[in-house]
Assembly symmetry: C2
Homo-oligomer: 270 residues x 2
């Protein structure tokens, strides 16, 4: 194999397995090449990725050392993504009776889920979370893609306790989005006490769900290290959780004039 081939294959394998550690020996064996050659390949791959802003190839030394790909969305790409989200969300055709917005096609779009997940991965990548937590259903794609980028398990809280979940912990909480008491339920075996969790969800109105998850996690002695949502509504301004990170803000939705206002959050990574 030529260097061009090895570098291409390394980039393919690493970038399709974000945050996963590969040993130099893995590539040396796969390509029938010396570790010193692989080391030079990695150096070439790292430089290219950095100069093209395609992400980071991180090497660590020592016995447990190796190499991994870390996604790193650029500020320019964040800007393009948020503008894109705002334009899509402001489409008058999304406005439903009662001033609700239809967002399922956006939330279940795998490409958008991957791009939004890149923002959360960059924002929360250093928080040392042990898992990503979401509540079914529309937050699952972006939470899954974030879990993938950070190489973490995803835990999905269900609305109803299911027999296929084993023993569960359930709570009731007030949901501002549906204006009623809702239930959430989590499989006990999904969570280890004393760990850290990152909440990722599609939408926050008053923060009832996030507060509910947070309360549930306290029962497990789990620390919430961050909360990312794709859309946060402007109203109510005071949420039930203090600290949350939205990609866009949803302002007024006027059912009669078919107009809605969506603003990008001001996100600049240093």
């Amino acid at each position: 194999m030529k260097r061009t081939d090895r570098v291409g294959a390394i980039i393919k394998i690493l970038s399709q397995n974000p945050s996963k550690n590969f040993s130099l020996g893995y590539f040396a064996e796969k390509f029938g090449a010396a570790k010193s050659s692989i080391s030079e390949d990695l150096s070439a791959a790292r430089k290219m990725m950095q100069s093209m802003e395609l992400g980071i190839i991180e090497t660590s030394a020592g016995a447990s050392g190796g190499v991994k790909y870390i996604s790193r969305i650029s500020n320019k790409e964040v800007d393009i993504l948020l503008q894109d989200l705002c334009t899509k969300l402001e489409d008058p055709g999304r406005i439903l009776a009662g001033g609700f917005l239809y967002t399922s096609d956006i939330m279940f779009d795998s490409t958008l889920a991957k791009r939004t997940a890149e923002v959360f991965a960059r924002k929360f990548g250093d928080k040392k979370a042990d898992y990503i937590i979401t509540v079914e259903t529309k937050g699952i794609p972006v939470a899954l893609m974030t879990a993938d980028l950070l190489n973490l398990p995803l835990v999905v809280i269900r609305r109803e306790s299911k027999i296929s979940e084993g023993s569960t912990l359930s709570i009731n909480y007030f949901s501002g989005s549906t204006d009623r008491i809702q239930k959430m339920s989590i499989a006990k075996r999904a969570i280890q006490p004393g760990t850290k969790a990152l909440i990722i969800d599609d939408f926050m109105r008053a923060g009832g769900s996030a507060k509910g998850i947070s309360d549930m996690m306290k029962e497990f002695d789990v620390e919430i290290v961050g909360t990312g949502v794709v859309i946060a509504s402007k109203e109510p301004e005071k949420k039930k959780v203090e600290d949350y990170f939205p990609l866009v803000y949803l302002g007024k939705v006027d059912e009669n004039s078919k107009k809605s206002e969506v603003f990008p959050n001001n996100i600049i990574f240093s």
Copy 2:
């Protein structure tokens, strides 16, 4: 930029956007290179990917022509995946009261979802589906990843009709898994009449869900071009749908002896 850099960047961009068409001009502009150079880069990338069994780079000529990456899991990787699934599923710790198996950690594992999706993408990639359909909740990750590989929208059928879905079509059906009548509901705007859909789900017992989806799709004049499930139970042998493609079969689950039998499907792609 050197050839090694361009080839690496092309592979990164193409493989992170499966089944999406990119023009040669896109890369020429991005890299400040002549189209003839890009064409040679693509040829190098294609040969390497093929020889390493990392997927296919497909070029098409003409005004609407371009290049795209198509995932193509090898038979060896399918074999490793299915063995891996069987081993994980046979873990005695998964057996719950009532002979149910705990599978949430498997179904919400993004790496497993990507790998299982590769099998469905290879199996159903040429069926010209217009979207992937699943029913919430545990089938969403593998359905999303399949949608991503085939560059198709994902439509998620809900258990309850939600106000945020707009007008919905609902049906009741008999679910063998839960041994009761269940409801499923789909947003009318999610489906266009006269199209084709591919069903992807986590589990099939008697095929009630798949039959329910199929019946629903008939109301929209939508043709089901395939049904893929991660796990199909051996019993009942006769399912409510004729044609389905499972990755593994679940045999007897013995709650007392804590033993379960899981068999790989015999999948060989030509």
